[in-house]
Every structure is written in structure tokens, then in C-alpha cells.
Symmetry: C2
Subunit: 225 residues, 2 copies
């Protein structure tokens, strides 16, 4: 194993990386309060990207647990959650913040945002995303579904300092992270809602080598009736 290097994702900024199939990225919530948005693309075809809606169908879960794979818009596994020391509270169904979101929140000037961070991070690798993707994997983000099954409750993170999640690459891929700049809607952990640094490490080994999850298929056509 090479000596893994910790890379800081500065507060309110993005950072992208390349993974070979079989490698993994360990994302660390240094301060325990930071939401980190995540996207992934097939390294050989950026039009194939991680899809939250296809992943929910694949796993029959709203938000992932250890062992679940994210799949792409071509329904191919791209990242598998192989380890998670946090309480396991993440979000797949809320849009990443963008310029228009902050305008709607009453912000007059430019506000840093996850969608622009995604673009900046890719450009640092010399890449252009073929399209903006609002459907991000919002790691450590705490959106509760109320008992009616419809109403959402946007809450601060429940993560602890140093908690981490490990995502294994199922194909050669590019991953982008954004240390979410949201400081108006209180999502960044109990306290002053100030965005903080996060960090990642690329791993060649030393993580649970779970197989990608198989897609959900009904046992029989009548199973759920």
C-alpha cells in the first residue's frame, strides 16, 4: 500500500479525484458538522454519471446503507458504500445548492454553491462536466421523512468529528466532492452553521472489499400485491 495522502476539501469549495476500479475514497468529516455533496462519472465516458434515482430503484432504499452500490444513468454500479463510521444519516433526494437556490433564499450577491464547486473541481482535473447535475449524493446530510411519508424535515448533521465513509469504485471513475457552502438553511451541524473543511484519502487497500450490490428484482410478479 502506498502511503495514503490526506487531501483537504476547503470549506465552501470543491475537490475532485480519479479512482481506478477497486480503489476507494475515504471521506472524513473532520469537524463532524459538514455536509459534503458527491458526484461520480465513468472516467472513460463522462456522459455516464452516478444517478440517485436509478440507485434508489437498484437498492430499494431512499438512502444507502453499507453494502449498497450507487449505479449510473446506464444502471452500472459505480460506487459501493463499504464502510461508514457515522450514524449512517445521508441524503440522496435533495438537490445540490446552486446560484438560483441562494437567490430564492434572499441572497443578493454571488454565494458559493455546490453546483459551481462541482464544475470548479472538475476543471482542476482538466475536465468539463457535460451537464449540471443537481441530484447529488449528500453525504452526512440529515433530511428526515416525517411519519406521513411525505413531509421532510431539514435538520443539522448528527455526525461526530472524525466520522468517515468509504466508497469503493466499481469502475474507473472521477469523483467530485463539495464541502457545502450552505450557511442559511441550518444543515451544518448544531452550532453556528458555518461551513468547515472536510478531507479525503484515496485507498488502494485496507477497506472491506464488499462486492457491488445486486439490483432488486421482485421474487414473483405477485409478491407485493
Amino acid at each position: 500500500m502506498h502511503n495514503p495522502q490526506t487531501v483537504i476539501i476547503p470549506a465552501r469549495h470543491g475537490k475532485a479525484l480519479r479512482l481506478k476500479a477497486g480503489q476507494a475514497v475515504k471521506l472524513v468529516n473532520i469537524h463532524g458538522t459538514q455536509v459534503v455533496d458527491c458526484w461520480a462519472w465513468n472516467a472513460h465516458d463522462l456522459s455516464e454519471h452516478m444517478s440517485m434515482e436509478a440507485s434508489r430503484v437498484w437498492n430499494q432504499r431512499l438512502n444507502p446503507i453499507v453494502g449498497d452500490s450507487f449505479v449510473t444513468n446506464q444502471r452500472n454500479p459505480i460506487l459501493t458504500v463499504v464502510e461508514d463510521t457515522s450514524p449512517g444519516v445521508h441524503d440522496t433526494f435533495m438537490a445540490a445548492c446552486d446560484c438560483q437556490r441562494y437567490v430564492r433564499l434572499g441572497v443578493k450577491d454571488y454565494h458559493r454553491n455546490c453546483l459551481d464547486n462541482m464544475g470548479e473541481a472538475l476543471r482542476e482535473l482538466g475536465l468539463d462536466a457535460p451537464q449540471p447535475i443537481l441530484a447529488s449524493f449528500n453525504i452526512f446530510m440529515n433530511i428526515a421523512v416525517e411519519a406521513d411519508g411525505k413531509t421532510l424535515s431539514t435538520r443539522p448533521t448528527v455526525t461526530r468529528p472524525g466520522d468517515y465513509i468509504v466508497l469503493k469504485a466499481e469502475m474507473d471513475c472521477v469523483v467530485a466532492f463539495s464541502a457545502c457552502p450552505q450557511d442559511i438553511v441550518p444543515i451544518q451541524g448544531v452550532g453556528d452553521n458555518t461551513p468547515k473543511d472536510a478531507a479525503f484519502v484515496i485507498l488502494d487497500d485496507g477497506f472491506p472489499n464488499l462486492a457491488p450490490s445486486a439490483t432488486w428484482v421482485p421474487d414473483t410478479a405477485g409478491r407485493n400485491i
Copy 2:
């Protein structure tokens, strides 16, 4: 009011239509068992389209109720749910079916699917969608969130024959519907899971003229803490 004309959406096929701002479309579940996927685009700029993930943030709801607006990837209201005689069970978070989904379900030959139906429906209007959109509004689709807030349960529709939903246009837009061809996963209502016809009517008036919903903004930064 012009005499509204009923248009059949044939089972397993798609159909698109144009709405002027202020018009509405009434989608009728003729047999009460059919799931209908729905997409919408700004008629003057097809790169602006209805976004499920942005709409969930806007309304702070996983699935919409009467009075909720869907917004676009530019965070502009595009369709508002102004009437719904069904039990109100719809889905915004499962991917539309596509070729790859049926391959993963074990289908060997071509299977009609909602994503291709979307493209076919637009082409009938002389339009090309700038990109495939898996994140459709799945009208009448019954996906329950279990008590753990994560596990999903894919179930048959609970709609009754003749139930309808009315969507008011908040901008000039193009709407596409697909009478979902899914006949493997049991979503099409209790019975033989056979896809059936649905229908729509374009309305100039005669529906509740609800205003678009305002976006959710936290009362105070500390409200949810």
C-alpha cells in the same frame, strides 16, 4: 371555454402536449391501475426542465400534495398540482424505466419503456429532448417509505377508475406522459399488472386557480436546531 378534447395515451406508449401558462392538463387514470410518468420543459428553452430534486427542496416534501408546485432545474415553478381526486399517492424519487432496467430484470428482447416513450412523444411534436431524464414525476405510483425512513416498498396503485390529477402550467411548457410499460415489477394496480390506456384533457378553465407555491425558507437560521 373550448370544448376540451380527450386524448388517449395508449398503454405502453407516450404522448406529449403543449400548455400555455395558465392552462392545465387533466390526467385521467381510466382503469384506475395505470402508472403514468410525466416530464415537463420550458417551451422556449428545452434545457430548462422539471426537476424532482429541486421540487423536493422547494416544497420540503418527498411527494407532492395539492397546492405544491414543481420547479425546474432553474428553480422556476413550471407545474402546480391544483386538483387530485385520487388518494394522492404519487412518486417523485424512482427512476423512470429504460432499456437497461429491463435488461437488469432479465428481459432479452426490446421492452417498451418510459424513457424511450418520452423521446417518441416529443418527436411527435417535432421536438428533441436535449438529454434523457430518468427523474420523472411518477403519477399514481405507489412507493412506500418504511418506518426506518430508508427501506422502500414497491406496491400496486391505490387509484380508482376515473381518478384524475390536474396540473396547471406556470410557464409555457411542453409536457410528456408515458403510460408505463412496466409489467414485471408489480406496480400497475392489483390484478394482472397489465399496462392500460390513460387519457388527458387540456383545460383553459374549470379548475382551481391556485397560485404557485412559494419556496420553503427557514423561519430563522436556528429554527430546526
